[in-house]
Symmetry: C2
Subunit: 215 residues, 2 copies
Amino acid sequence: MKLYSYFRSSASYRVRIALNLKGLDYEYAAVHLRRGGGEHRSADYRALNPQALVPTLVDGERVLTQSLAIIEYLEETHPQPPLLPAAPADRAHVRALAQLVACEIHPLNNLRVLGYLTGELGVSEEAKNRWYRHWVALGLQALEAQLARGPRTGRFCFGDAPGLADCCLVPQLANARRFECDLSGYPTLTRIERACLELPAFQRAAPGAQPDAEA
Amino acid sequence: MKLYSYFRSSASYRVRIALNLKGLDYEYAAVHLRRGGGEHRSADYRALNPQALVPTLVDGERVLTQSLAIIEYLEETHPQPPLLPAAPADRAHVRALAQLVACEIHPLNNLRVLGYLTGELGVSEEAKNRWYRHWVALGLQALEAQLARGPRTGRFCFGDAPGLADCCLVPQLANARRFECDLSGYPTLTRIERACLELPAFQRAAPGAQPDAEA
């Protein structure tokens, strides 16, 4: 398998964690989102992925896009260890936690959106950072509320094994730190993050551990 | 089952279509997103759904959030008719189409985000509408490119039966029309939309057909 990835992309980071948790080897193809106007916008990359987004996973003849769809694919083709629980209601719970990050927080805060704010809309750096922190806080407060009160929360987002929701949580918290968000109000989230970061699967997926990492 | 929904919410609309396609009866509980500062922000609703978002589906003791997680739950608990194909690569393809709408277009254009732009950031109505159309165009262009060239595209987004991707496409196009987006560049998307809107499951899910519909 070959993963088109950018070291700092949260969505790529999610898939790297999932591949590592599944124990799957893959070739790393760096797609630089800033260099030369963005390598993801090149004709070659668009031919592979018309969305011009990372990650893309190529598995033989199959070209897969969208991080959560890729992780579900890995779950179906390599079921062990599972990243989703067995019962439908539990699976829905874990997917909803993942989607709270992937549909409510991250889309508002990725590079292209922040670029539109400061570019097209002429928003100041300070207002851009406030925007970032606003959506992160709104999302993480909901996530903290759900995980803190949830009887299904364990050492990880669901029980005592890492799964799909953890694949989304850890990159989101890393991203929030880059923007200097105050994370002191999320003791459950940061406790789970610490448990994740003890695992080599998460450590090897971290932005700083990628071949295209920059200081 | 009881669905907490707002007639105009795209995410609620997706779940209404899925429930109808599965032939499942449900009670409709209206949550007005504008009235009184937003009924979704009330303590009662937050106790049910800490994300303070619609939809929420209550199935017996189970409280389910996030539209795509809810639809996957319906798929697992009521497999017929299927909304996802059988093969993992095809499932990933359909999920990626759905997520292109749910993670790349819709999150940037919902009520709370547009409110932040005009409120907190003081952006003009005209610039807000340009923002809306920018993200819709970017997303729909990618969706059109994928569906127009895809050998798996049929009468619907995948083959000749409606599924998960159609549940997301139709509400997104309805939303785009409300903001007067030009849809002439998306012949494949609008052809599929027409096929969907011939079906009672889609017609009965439409915003105008809901008990809380407004002119």
